[in-house]
Amino acid sequence: MIDSKIPPGPIQEKWTQYKASCRLINPANRRKYRVIVVGTGLAGSSCAASLSELGFQVEVFTFHESPRRAHSVAAQGGINAAKDYKNDGDSIWRMFYDTVKGGDFRSREANVYRMAECSLALIDQAVAQGVPFAREYSGYLSNRSFGGVQVSRTFYARGQTGQQLLQGAYQALMRQSQIGNVRLHTRHEMMDLWVEEGKAKGIVARNLDTGEIKLHVADAVVLATGGYGKIYYLSTLAMNCNASAIWRAHKQGAFFAAPSWTQFHPTSLPQMGDYQSKLTLMSESLRNDGRIWVPIKSGDNRPPHEIPEEERDYYLERKYPSYGNLAPRDISSRAAKEQIDNGHGVGPMNNAVYLDFKDAINRDGKTAIEKRYGNLFYMYKKITGMDAFKEPMLISPSAHFSMGGLWVDYELMSNLEGLFVLGEANFADHGANRLGANSLLQACVDGYFISPHTIMNYLAGEKPIEDPKPELSHEIIDTNQKRLDNLLAIQGNKTAEEFHKELGKILYNKCGLIREKQTLLKAKTELKNLRDSFYKELLVPKGSSLNFELEKAARMEDYLELAQLIVEDALQREESCGAHFRAEHQTPDGEAKRNDNEFQFVSVWEILENGNHNLHKEHLDFESIKVSERSYK
């Protein structure tokens, strides 16, 4: 049932072979084909622009007012590429290995290798577009290091790498909208997938300004709709990030892979009050010089400077002497949670740990630290009103990245033919834990270099679609309109936001950094109750045109369904791997314990008519890499 369509041959040659043998369409015929691209983040913009450059007609949808506002814009730290400009022993192979290991041996070798391989051309492409990466005085590109690896392969544009890369992709897209074949539909939200004879042939989208719902048909559909970490409510994602596009596609038959694998970022700012709507990320690079600690005595409420050195626990340095404060994200986040849960949390809500720059300032001087992190310290002050030069920063783990997503094969195509899923929306390259600076890369590589070939290969076997019979299109439009009408009709007494906050609490507490059978079972009941009450108590103000509350309510409905699958997925996986930590499965010293005999597969979920789920397994074969214990001690 699960065929990942990995090309034969040695791993180094698979992609070259694929490209050499995939089907092409003559330039004059390409304009007969229409592709819908949903999402204008790095993955969507780059794919749409590249397809248009090839001569295909492209219809682009985003709920944002402008393509440039997609959440890729918020990425700070950088993007990886195996250029080996540092001569420090980097190579495609090493990057491939680091990524598979970082993902705790739960990703597909062939996909990861290809990502590392394409990373070289991606940096070339971005530079040619005018992305102002950091440079040495000599004019050459500069690199820095990131968590979980021992080489410096990260390219960056100050603390705004995502913004700069996105501008490159957005500008390429706008250029095509002017000279090429791109038609932009901004402020349009995809509500459903149109499937004909088992193939994706269009989407239902709602114009968010007017409320009009329409069917748009195409020969292939690309979903590049980003991550769904916002399901935890408090997260580093933007307010409007959602799972609706992929969830609706899932309900039309697309398989969902590893839904419960969410990465929690260790250095976000902690929650300060109940009103809070999001958690801001502080770049991981701070961990290069900041030391993480908590008071040894639990419940110690003294201000940090009154706590003497011997009463502090630098727990990462203690537990992971070789990586110390630079231990990978899953490990650092879990360690912080353990401290907080055991009563060592600091800050007004006792939900944070300290990230302390005192020693670095004493060692290198304030000027040096200011030069390195000035903008981050400034940002910290802007948000919290506190000065990190004077007192340690407060940080805490926050929901951040979805390793899970719609299942795709080597061609980035779902089990539903003609449906391609790119960027954070798919399950592909990161396994059970993503390495820093690899996901901007994945989104770009999917969009610029992989999907243009695989989509053309698919279209070459298709006859250009004609508009569907009007009665068919009326039916799916009616179904979607009714769905919104039903939400509007409930008229209870709780807003979508309130439901979202409750959902977030359940997931954080029972299916977050640490998972356990008993609590997961409780979560299951609580989620069911929450869903039931949603249909009785939801309150959406009337109005079918511009109505932000209605948008939220529809996304919330999808989140509530996805949450149940997340818990099911976490329950089913009786092992710990990467970000998925089951308390029952740990080594004597509290580290994640994989179970390769039984769980060396990706959990792939199919939805059934009655809404229940069926599990398929994509077994992971490691032919090039030896599976080993993932240790950072």
Partner: protein, 243 residues
């Protein structure tokens, strides 16, 4: 903490708007301005009233979505900050706040505090790019760019497209927005090839969208959340005369 809010309510582009007053208590000084509006909206919805339409997304000052006017300050009474980066601790208990949308002919009001800024995208579409197709790029290190040039290009490229520069300008000019893009690309060797056409067509589009001309008051650089310098406007003008 208590605040009295006077918020611009306007059903749609055609209807007439007015300020409506809301008294809020129980606010937390650490709340951001959008969080304050979330708080107000929850009350309005429960009272069966129409919530305030406002937009925000990243809530960390980078997506450019949120901005409106607070007591006459574009985006924020804080310097170089977006609306979402403004916290109630910037105000005093009991203060009165007037919230209204950015006003510019090229930014029609959609509802309440929401405006349509797609005019800015249309300016970019006219040449705010380097015309390189996927696959054409040479090896990255074959294009050398000095450290300081790269840094200045970044300074210009840091624009978040929020439109604060237009909103603050008495002529509603988009010169800072357009100048920043022109100057970002003109500084780089790979951007020089198309420089002449770029500046001509982007400037023409700016006029066509109904943005006013720049009379160099410098107000834009004062409110820009990314502190983008008016020197970029000088560059644009120079590029324009060269073209």
């Amino acid at each position: 903490m208590k605040l009295t809010l006077h918020i611009w309510r306007q059903e749609n582009q055609k209807s007439k708007g007015r300020f409506e007053t809301y008294e809020l208590s129980g606010l937390d000084p650490q709340m951001s301005v959008p969080e304050m509006l979330d708080f107000l909206n929850e009350k309005l919805i429960k009272d069966g009233k129409d919530p305030i339409a406002f937009e925000s997304d990243c809530r960390e000052g980078i997506c450019g979505q949120c901005g409106f006017v607070i007591n006459g300050h574009i985006q924020s009474p804080e310097k170089h900050a977006t609306t979402c980066q403004t916290h109630l601790r910037s105000f005093n208990d009991g203060d009165e706040l007037f919230l209204e949308p950015f006003r510019a002919a090229a930014f029609p009001i959609k509802k309440d505090l929401c405006i349509d800024r797609t005019a800015l995208d249309r300016i970019i579409a006219k040449g705010g790019y380097i015309g390189v197709n996927t696959g054409q790029a040479p090896e990255a290190n074959s294009i050398l760019i000095g450290h300081y040039t790269a840094e200045s290009a970044f300074d210009a490229a840091a624009c978040i497209g929020c439109g604060a520069c237009v909103a603050v300008c008495k002529n509603a000019s988009a010169a800072l927005f357009t100048g920043a893009k022109i100057s970002h690309l003109a500084m780089l060797p790979q951007g020089k090839m198309e420089a002449k056409n770029r500046v001509k067509s982007m400037v023409a589009q700016m006029d066509q969208e109904g943005f006013g001309s720049c009379t160099f008051t410098g107000a834009c650089q004062e409110v820009c959340p990314q502190s983008i310098s008016v020197a970029n406007i000088v560059t644009m003008n120079r590029e324009f005369w060269k073209s």
